[in-house]
């Protein structure tokens, strides 16, 4: 039993948690939902010992405890699987599993590697992962890494003599459906040994796995209910304090695409990744790309944007041959790319909003006398008001913006660059519910303007809801093409059957 | 005991350092007028205090300053010409030109801006070792008092001759040079080559550069032992540090004392090696004299003992006399110059003039 009583936390005078009470019972899966900034992550950090509360207390089986470090939390049987990938890629799986805890394998001052390996195999078996513990973490797929992280958290049960509480902070955001299913089945298997706190933006998932759900808003718990008693729509309403728009993906704004082809792909292939990929992307069209990790869609979009080169086939942009040697070539031909790794590839986080907006086409901020800050700021202010970016000023570094607002800055960058073909890679990842809707609206706006969009989305639902057509990839080839006109959207199962 | 004789500055140093620190801490107390208002500040500007040659130079300066009771400052360039010049300008600024400066310029070209700065500030300056060929004291009367050098060509050649005599006038030798572009390194090599030209039976097997460092000389000599083996009859080094490096490379293979080695500079370890018969010769410039008399000469010009303009050219640009230390005179030399504290007559300004510097 883990209990939080009236927990408070403030950062520089701003209250992030305003008296949260929270309870995890043995063997239970507790869902925790809320918009970004609602205080979920702060609550998790306090429970995991990475930060300390400003007020209130945490009790473990009825006894107040002080969690000053992750080590303290571990000693209390609490472990966290972090939202960001927290494996160290140059270390082996076994070393990652016992990082910071390898003292128990020391014999005569040296690490007993055989014992470490044995222990690692034991932990990996718990999550059903059949990999060599001596492999480097960097060689694993994202899903495998997530499983290793889970195993790392579960390894705690051998060290502490009590039931475990595992905190899962958005564990599914980088996983594909099949992998999520695997993770969930593991969580259910392990319920006898541990209780879980499950944080996610995907409300249907939360309801599918949880026994009980807490809803947070503005630093406080606003609702608590058995999962069986609520629907995603209920949760959403509680989170944002208003009803879900019946038309989540703005289907009524989906106009038929124009006839002219923006991007044509013919027989494109890259050895070992994908082969014989052909499609046309029209102006004003959203083309969804579905497929599990390893289906080749990531490699495909990297080739389309010039990060890598194909071995076979060709491409045309607006009727002219297109063979990019670098992203710069892609941008010069009117392509834009909204990456899934927004923090590393999307924005230069330490630069101002204005500087990021002009990064892809700096001449918009140039005058005959050189780069003009005032011109740049005027441009940035224009986008701030058009896209509703919430920021103190155009001069604010992007790292100070919320995820949704950062994503709007990325879109503003490509619109400034005049991109006519946009590749959106998980555009709503790490974006809260309210901001998601704004992103959807922006996508519809782009279509209205005739921009062609290639979409790789977080969920199948999102892919189907937003796209005009869905291309399904399996094992490096296109396995199906399904039309998804407004009012005639395909069923998810029809797509899944082509994916696996 | 050896230690304190070797580094007589050791204990004093610690005190002066503490004074320096204390002075910095009590920063407000600094900068009060000097005790002797009219006494010029004596300045030695040298490369670094981390080599024994310049450390002894500095002791000479201290001894002279103590003898006449004048304030004394050491400036180090750390091999950076810009820093050397900047520091001298700073000291001229600070003293208002009431200074006597003895400088071993980091590189020959540095001498011109230094001399010009001293002339402008009204300080008296003496340069040693390095100066451009077209810069002459008599063009800057009376402030640029003299330039003192030692004939690197002559002594480079003389050590080579001692070496050749030691190997019996024929056979192969190898040579270790200093930093390629360095004036002293060039002169000493020129002397070596002149001597070799006069001894056609001696072959220069290889010339390598060890940047004045003993560590590099060690590695180079090791590689030579592979390449030439017993063909190496002698090793000529452009300074003592490299000679010591070569000696230790020989010792590592048990060959010390079997292959003659010569160095230049006369540092204590080299003189001891000559005494022990492991080195054949070195040249003693007497840095104590350079540090002391390099101040004494311009000091006496400043105080009016003599008028530089009236002095003959051989007192304005002259070679100092140096001592070639060989196995024959090593014992007496050691007793006189190293075991005992050096005694100098600071008034004997021109006693070591051995001729006017050649105009090449």
């Amino acid at each position: 039993m883990l209990t939080a009583e009236n927990l408070r936390k403030s950062y520089a005078g701003v209250e992030a948690l305003r008296g949260v009470s929270f309870e995890v019972r043995p063997g239970e899966v507790v869902g925790l939902v809320g918009e970004n900034g609602a205080g979920k992550s702060t609550l998790m950090r306090l429970l995991a010992g990475t930060q300390r509360p400003s007020g209130g207390r945490i009790l473990r089986d009825g006894q107040p405890v002080s969690l000053a470090s992750p080590r303290d939390a571990n000693a209390m049987g609490i472990a966290m699987v972090f939202q960001e990938q927290s494996l160290i890629l140059n270390l082996s799986v076994a070393e990652n599993l016992f990082l910071g805890q390898d003292g128990e394998f020391v014999r005569h001052g040296l690490i007993d590697r055989r014992a470490l390996r044995r222990a690692a195999l034991h932990q990996l078996a718990k999550v059903g992962l059949d990999i060599d513990p001596d492999r480097r973490a960097g060689e694993l797929s994202f899903a495998q890494r997530q499983m290793v992280e889970l195993a790392k958290a579960l390894a705690l049960e051998d060290r502490v003599d009590r039931d475990l509480v595992i905190l899962l902070d958005e564990p599914t955001s980088v996983l594909e459906q099949a992998e999520i299913d695997l993770l969930f089945s593991r969580v259910r298997d392990l319920q006898s040994r541990a209780s879980f706190v499950f944080v996610s933006h995907r409300l249907d998932e939360v309801l599918a796995i949880s026994d009980r759900v807490y809803v947070m808003r503005d630093g406080a718990v606003v609702a608590e209910a058995p999962a069986s008693a609520v629907t995603p729509a209920d949760l959403h309403q509680m989170m944002v304090g208003r009803g879900v728009r019946t038309e989540y993906y703005l289907e009524s704004r989906q106009e038929p695409p124009r006839s002219d082809v923006a991007l044509a792909v013919r027989g494109l292939g890259q050895q070992g990744a994908f082969r014989d990929v052909s499609f046309d992307l029209h102006r004003g069209e959203v083309l969804g790309l579905a497929g599990v990790i390893g289906s080749g869609r990531e490699a495909l979009i990297r080739v389309l944007f010039g990060f890598e080169r194909p071995d076979a086939g060709g491409m045309e942009v607006e009727g002219q041959a297109y063979a990019p040697r670098s992203p710069a070539d892609a941008v010069a031909r009117g392509l834009g790319f909204v990456p899934s790794e927004r923090r590393t590839e999307g924005l230069v986080m330490t630069l101002s909003l204005g500087a990021n907006i002009t990064l892809a086409r700096i001449r918009e901020a140039m005058t005959p006398w050189g780069l003009s800050r005032s011109k740049e700021q005027a441009l940035a202010r224009d986008w701030i008001s058009r896209l509703g970016i919430r920021t103190p000023s155009a001069d604010t570094p992007c790292r100070n913006l919320s995820g949704g607002n950062q994503q709007k800055v990325v879109l503003a960058k490509w619109r400034t660059a005049g991109s006519r073909v946009l590749i959106l890679d998980h555009p709503t990842r790490g974006v809260d519910v309210g901001a998601k809707e704004e992103v959807f609206r922006l996508i519809r706006d782009l279509c209205d303007e005739g921009v062609a969009i290639l979409l790789v989305a977080d969920t199948l639902e999102e892919t189907i809801g937003l796209s005009h057509r869905v291309l399904v990839m399996r094992d490096g080839a296109i396995s199906a093409e399904l039309p998804a006109p407004a009012g005639g959207k395909p069923e998810q199962v029809r797509i899944v059957e082509h994916m696996v | 005991m050896t230690l304190w004789r070797q580094v007589p500055g050791g204990l004093i140093r610690r005190r002066t350092l503490l004074q320096g620190m204390a002075g910095l801490a009590a920063v407000g107390a600094m900068g009060r007028p000097a005790r002797a208002q009219d006494m010029p500040t004596l300045v030695n500007s040298i490369r670094s205090l981390s080599n024994p040659y310049h450390a002894t130079w500095n002791q000479g300066g201290e001894a002279f300053a103590a003898a006449i009771g004048a304030p004394y400052v050491t400036l180090v360039t750390e091999g950076d010409s810009e820093k050397g010049i900047a520091d001298i300008r700073a000291i001229l600024q600070k003293t208002g030109g009431n200074a006597v400066i003895n400088v071993d310029p980091n590189d020959a070209p540095d001498a011109r801006p230094i001399v010009e700065a001293c002339v402008q500030a009204g300080a008296h300056v003496l340069t040693q070792w390095n100066k451009p060929a077209d810069l002459h004291p008599w063009d800057f009367n009376p402030n640029y008092v003299s330039h003192v050098s030692f004939d690197g060509v002559e002594y480079g050649g003389r050590t080579a001759q001692v070496l050749i005599d030691a190997i019996g006038g024929s056979g192969g030798i190898v040579a270790l040079g200093g930093i390629l572009s360095n004036t002293a390194a060039i002169d000493r090599r020129t002397g070596l080559e002149a001597t070799l030209a006069a001894n056609p039976n001696v072959e220069l097997l290889d010339f390598q550069v060890a940047d004045w460092q003993s560590g590099k000389a060690f590695d180079t000599t090791s590689a030579w032992l592979t390449r030439f083996g017993p063909d190496i009859k002698g090793i000529w080094a452009a300074n003592d540090d490299m000679a010591i490096g070569a000696l230790e490379a020989l010792r590592a293979e048990g060959l010390q004392g079997q292959i003659p080695i010569t160095g230049i500079d006369g540092i204590q370890t080299a003189v001891e090696a000559v005494r022990a018969g492991e080195m054949t010769a070195t040249v003693f410039w007497d840095p104590f004299w350079q540090g002391a008399m390099g101040l004494s000469i311009p000091y006496h010009a400043r105080t009016g003992t003599f008028d530089p303009a009236a002095e003959p050219p051989e007192h304005r640009e002259f070679y100092g006399s140096a001592t070639v230390v060989t196995t024959e005179n090593a014992e007496s030399f050691y007793a006189e110059h190293i075991a005992a504290t050096p005694q100098l007559d600071f008034e004997d300004l021109w006693g070591r003039v051995s001729g006017q510097i050649r105009q090449s």
């Binding site: 941008v331 790319f337 990064l359 050189g370 780069l371 | 320096g20 010409s81």
Partner: protein, 317 residues
């Protein structure tokens, strides 16, 4: 663990300037006459070469790389100037600058094209340039004769008590500042230093701008080499070699992060003055030569500890 209160960004940006001002004020109080215009001109003149070298280096440090070859390039430019002045007159200067530009470009190409870490690429390229310089100069300092010295007046001369070298350095500052503030190069440099992947993904031709940063570093180094040669009326093949560490120190003490992404030429000017004032200040204070290196090390660490922006970096390497 010492925790320092995190100052606001504005104060943070001004810290290097405050350190310099504090140092100057302390010296002004401690040494009568230090605060005189003559002394200040002296300090400026003696900082000029160091600053120009460090200014070029800051283009490279801003993108998160390092150029250890700048001093070799400066020496090369000095030697080229000294060699060419007799025959070519004023054309020697553009040729020397071009040589520096070329050396920097080649370093950049090795770093970017072969993907060799800049620490090693520039160290090795510096070795090659150094060898070339020794060969060109026949391994000795090349004296600039009396007849050619009027050519050096634009650096070594004085007008109404103002040393020209200060004007040259100010020009370099203006040029560097303009390049960083008014051209895409400056913006892209900051972006590359702060996040290279994001800059690549924004379609910026990162390789080109990285090479350009090294080319500029070479160009500025060449100017520094010419200034050095003009002051010494000779070009020495190893003349600038000891300026490397002070110039790196100048860049960092000015507040440019060694990891890149912040800072620039204007800050380097403050940093160069700080390094220079600290060194000359010890001479003015009469700090014992034996203690100077220790104190300089302490001052360096203190200045960096004060000016390092800890707010924006999670990890300090």
């Amino acid at each position: 663990m010492i925790t320092l209160a995190a100052p606001g960004p504005r104060l943070r940006a001004a810290l290097p300037m405050l350190v310099l001002a504090g140092l100057m004020a302390a010296l002004g109080l401690a040494v009568p006459g230090f605060a005189s215009p003559a002394t200040l001109l002296l300090v400026l003149a003696d900082t000029a070469t160091l600053f120009v070298l460090a200014a070029g280096l800051s283009f490279v440090i801003v993108i998160g790389s390092i150029d250890l070859g700048v001093t070799a390039t400066a020496s090369l430019a000095g030697v080229v100037t000294a060699l060419l002045l007799p025959g070519w007159g004023g054309w020697a200067f553009p040729v020397a600058l071009a040589a520096g530009l070329l050396a920097g470009t080649v370093t950049g190409l090795v770093h970017v094209g072969l993907r060799v870490p800049s620490f090693i690429a520039s160290l090795a390229a510096g070795g090659v340039v150094g060898g070339l310089t020794l060969w060109l100069s026949d391994a000795q300092a090349v004296t600039i004769g009396q007849t050619d010295r009027p050519w050096l007046d634009w650096v070594a001369g004085e007008t109404a008590g103002l040393p020209h070298i200060i004007v040259v350095a100010a020009g370099a500052l203006l040029l560097g500042w303009g390049l960083q503030r008014l051209t895409p190069l400056g913006r892209f440099g900051l972006a590359i230093g702060a996040s290279e992947p994001a800059t690549v993904a924004s379609g910026v031709r990162v390789a080109r701008y990285k090479v350009l940063a090294f080319a500029l570093s070479g160009l500025f180094a060449a100017l520094a080499g010419i200034m050095l040669a003009a002051r010494l009326t000779s070009g020495s093949p190893t003349g600038a070699s000891e300026l490397l560490l002070p110039s790196i120190a100048a860049v960092i003490v000015g507040g440019t992060a060694i990891t890149g992404g912040t800072g620039g030429v204007a800050r380097t000017a403050v940093g160069a003055l700080t390094v220079s004032v600290a060194r000359l200040g010890m001479t003015f204070l009469g700090v014992d030569a034996f203690a100077q290196q220790i104190l300089f090390g302490v001052v360096l660490i203190a200045a960096v500890a004060i000016t390092t922006d800890r707010a924006s970096v999670v990890v300090t390497k």
